[in-house]
Subunit: 360 residues, 2 copies
C-alpha cells in the first residue's frame, strides 16, 4: 500500500543511505548514523517536517561551511548542575545527544543537570532528547530558539521564534508520556496547504504584515505566525528564548539566523537540556507505575462522538513509529533529492537503489 | 473615580483587615500578613480571581479543618538540589514562600533547587513565586495542579486540570519578564460572563458534556474547558500534573479535590518550585542587561493598527499594580463578604470601616 507521490522503503536502507551522505561529507560513522536514525525516526513518527526532508538543507550548510561536520560539542563551563556547551555549529542531533547525556549524568549524581548550548544548529525533534532522559528515569525538559517569527500581542513585527518545548515524564508503560510543542498556534506548512487548496484559515493562526487579523492564507504567508493561545504561547516562547540564549551566552531574538537563509552563515540558535532524576525525590519505580496508570486511565476514558481512540501526550507519534517499525514513507520529491545528493557524492548505486526500486 | 458596584480603598487598610481575619483564625501575624499582601497584590495587578475574593473560601476551609492555619510546610526529604515539602494543608502563599526560598537557596550554592510540595493548598498567583526567584537572580519556574477540568483531545470526560505555569527570567529592568499562564484556552469566568450577556463563545474555549464542539456558553458550563492550543495545552497540563504530583508523592489527577467542594476535605494539590541561578552559567549581570534590552526592543516594536502600547510578558499586571500602588478596587459583593467575615470574628469596627466609608 503506497500512496501515490510517495516512496516506501526499508527504514534500514534509508538510514544507511542518509548516514552515507553525511559520512561522505566528513561526519564520523557514529555521528552520521545518529543523524540519519533521528531523521528517519521523525518520518516514522509522522513528523515529516523533522525527517529526511531536512537532508538537503543540512548538506547545503555543511558544504557552505556554516555547519561543521566534525564538531560534537565542547563543555566550556562546568559548575556541576549547570553546564554550558559550545556546539561549534555541529549537527544538532550529535551535539544534543552529548548535551542530554551530560544532563542525565549530573541528574543521577546531583538530582538535576542543565546544559545550555550556544552556537547551536537544528537538532530535529525535541521529543527525542526528552525521551532519552525519561528512559533514564529522569524528567527531561528540552527547548531551543529560532529566529523571530511571531509578533508580541498587538505587535506588527516578529519578536520571537515559535520556539519548541518538549517535556517527558518517565513511565513504566511501553508508550511514552511526552509533550512536544511549538509555541505557534499553527505551523506555516498548514497555512501553505490552505493557500494551495484555496481555503480560509482561522484568525488565531496568523496576522498579515501589518499585524491585522486575517483569514486569508496568502496574507498570512506575507505576515506572521501567531502564538498558541495568544499571550500564553508568546510569553512561553519569549522566556524560552532568554533561557536558552542567555544562559548559554548564545543567540537569541534576531541574532538567530533563518534556517533556510544564507547557508554560509551559522544558524546560531541556542538549546537548553534539563534532566531531573526522580529517584532524588522518592520511590521512582512507584512514580513510573503511577505515570503508566495515568496514561491507561486517559486511554480508557469516555470519548466524544466519532472518536475511536484517545492518546496520551506523544503516544500517537510513538504508535506511528511502531506501525512503521521497518518502513519509511517519503515523498517522491524528497526521494529524488536524496538520490540526487547521493550521486553528487559518488555514493554506491546499491545504496541509492532502494529509493528507486520502491518507486511507484 | 470609582466604578459603580465597586469599592475603592487604601491598599494598606484592606491588607490590615484581611491579615486580621487570618490572624483571628490562628494564623501567625507574619503569615497572615503574607496571605493578605499576596491577595491584595493580585487585585492591584488586575487578577481579581486570585485576589481577596478568595478570602471566604480560605476562611471556610480553615473553619472546616481542611486548611491548617498553623502549618508552614516541612521539608521531609532533602537531597541537595531535590527537596520534598509536606505543606500539611497550610495556606499556599505561606508554604509556597518557604518552598521558593529553599529553591533559591540551593540554586545559589548548587546551581538549581527544586522543591516538590505535597498536601498543598491554593497558593494564589504563580507569578509571585517565580518573580521572587527572578529578584534573586534566578530563573524561577513554578507550577501546580488542580482537579481534572479538561478532556484529552477527543475525550468526553475531564482528565487534567488547567494547571498553571509561571516562568520568570531575571532582568535589569524595573518591569519584570514573567510568563503566567493557565493551560486552558479560556477561564470559566469568561464563559460565565458570556452566558450572562447572552453571547456565543468561540469553539476553541470549551466542549459540551459529551465532548462535542459548542458555541453555547451554557453547554460549555455543563461541559468542560478546552486546553490552550488543543494537544499543546493538554500535554503541558498532563506532564505538569505528573511533575508536581508524583515527584512530591502528592495528589494528581482526580485525587486533587474541587477547590469549592467539601470545605472539610483537604484540597490535596501539589506544587513544584524550581530556581536556576544564572551566575552558575555565566555573567549574570550581562544576562540581566540583555533581558532588559529584549523587553525594551519588544516595547519599541512596530504596532498593529489601533494598538497603543506593547507589553513584555507579565508587564501589564506589573504596570497595573504600579498604577494602583496604594489603592485596591474590589466589588461591592467582595467588600460585603469581607466585612461580614470580619464581624463574625469580632474584628474591631475601625478595621472594617474603610470598606464601608469608601462605598459609593
Amino acid at each position: 500500500m503506497t500512496t501515490p507521490g510517495t516512496v516506501t522503503a526499508n527504514a534500514g536502507d534509508i538510514i544507511a543511505l542518509v548516514a552515507r551522505i553525511f559520512s561522505s561529507l566528513g561526519v564520523n560513522e557514529a555521528g552520521a548514523r545518529t543523524v540519519a536514525e533521528a531523521l528517519v525516526e521523525a518520518d516514522r513518527e509522522g513528523l515529516a517536517s523533522h525527517g529526511v526532508m531536512l537532508t538537503d538543507m543540512y548538506v547545503d550548510r555543511i558544504r557552505s561551511g556554516s555547519v561543521s561536520p566534525t564538531a560534537t560539542g565542547t563543555i566550556v563551563s562546568d559548575q556541576g548542575v549547570a553546564m554550558v556547551m559550545d556546539a561549534e555549529n555541529g549537527l544538532g542531533q550529535i551535539t544534543g545527544d552529548k548535551a542530554i547525556a551530560h544532563a542525565i549524568d549530573r541528574a543521577r549524581t546531583l538530582g538535576a543537570g542543565i546544559v545550555a548550548v550556544r552556537n547551536g544548529f537544528h537538532f530535529g525533534a525535541a521529543r527525542r532528547f526528552a525521551l532519552k532522559a525519561a528512559d533514564a528515569g529522569c524528567v527531561g525538559i528540552v527547548m531551543c530558539n529560532t529566529r523571530p517569527l511571531m509578533p508580541a500581542p498587538g505587535g506588527a513585527e516578529p519578536v520571537v521564534g515559535n520556539n519548541p518545548l518538549a517535556i517527558a515524564f518517565p513511565t513504566a508503560s511501553d508508550a511514552p508520556i511526552v509533550l512536544d510543542m511549538a509555541t505557534s498556534e499553527a505551523a506555516m506548512g498548514k497555512i501553505r496547504m490552505a493557500a494551495k487548496s484555496g481555503k480560509q484559515i482561522p484568525e488565531s493562526w496568523a496576522v498579515d504584515a501589518e499585524g491585522r487579523e486575517t483569514n486569508d492564507p496568502e496574507a498570512a504567508i506575507a505576515g506572521m505566525l501567531l502564538p498558541s493561545g495568544g499571550p500564553k504561547g508568546f510569553g512561553l516562547a519569549f522566556v524560552m528564548d532568554l533561557m536558552a540564549g542567555l544562559l548559554s551566552g548564545g543567540g537569541y531574538g534576531a541574532t538567530v539566523s533563518p534556517l533556510y537563509g544564507d547557508p554560509a552563515k551559522p544558524y546560531n540558535c541556542a538549546h537548553l537540556f534539563m534532566a531531573i532524576d526522580a529517584t532524588h525525590f522518592g520511590d521512582a519505580g512507584a512514580m513510573q507505575q503511577a505515570a503508566a496508570a495515568a496514561g491507561d486511565k486517559l486511554r480508557a476514558g469516555r470519548k466524544a462522538p466519532g472518536v475511536d481512540r484517545l492518546y496520551a501526550p506523544g503516544e500517537r507519534e510513538w504508535q506511528r513509529a511502531r506501525d512503521n517499525a521497518d518502513i519509511v514513507t517519503i515523498t517522491d520529491t524528497v526521494a529524488a533529492m536524496l538520490a540526487g545528493i547521493a550521486r553528487t557524492l559518488d555514493i554506491e548505486p546499491a545504496l541509492i537503489a532502494p529509493l528507486e526500486q520502491s518507486k511507484n
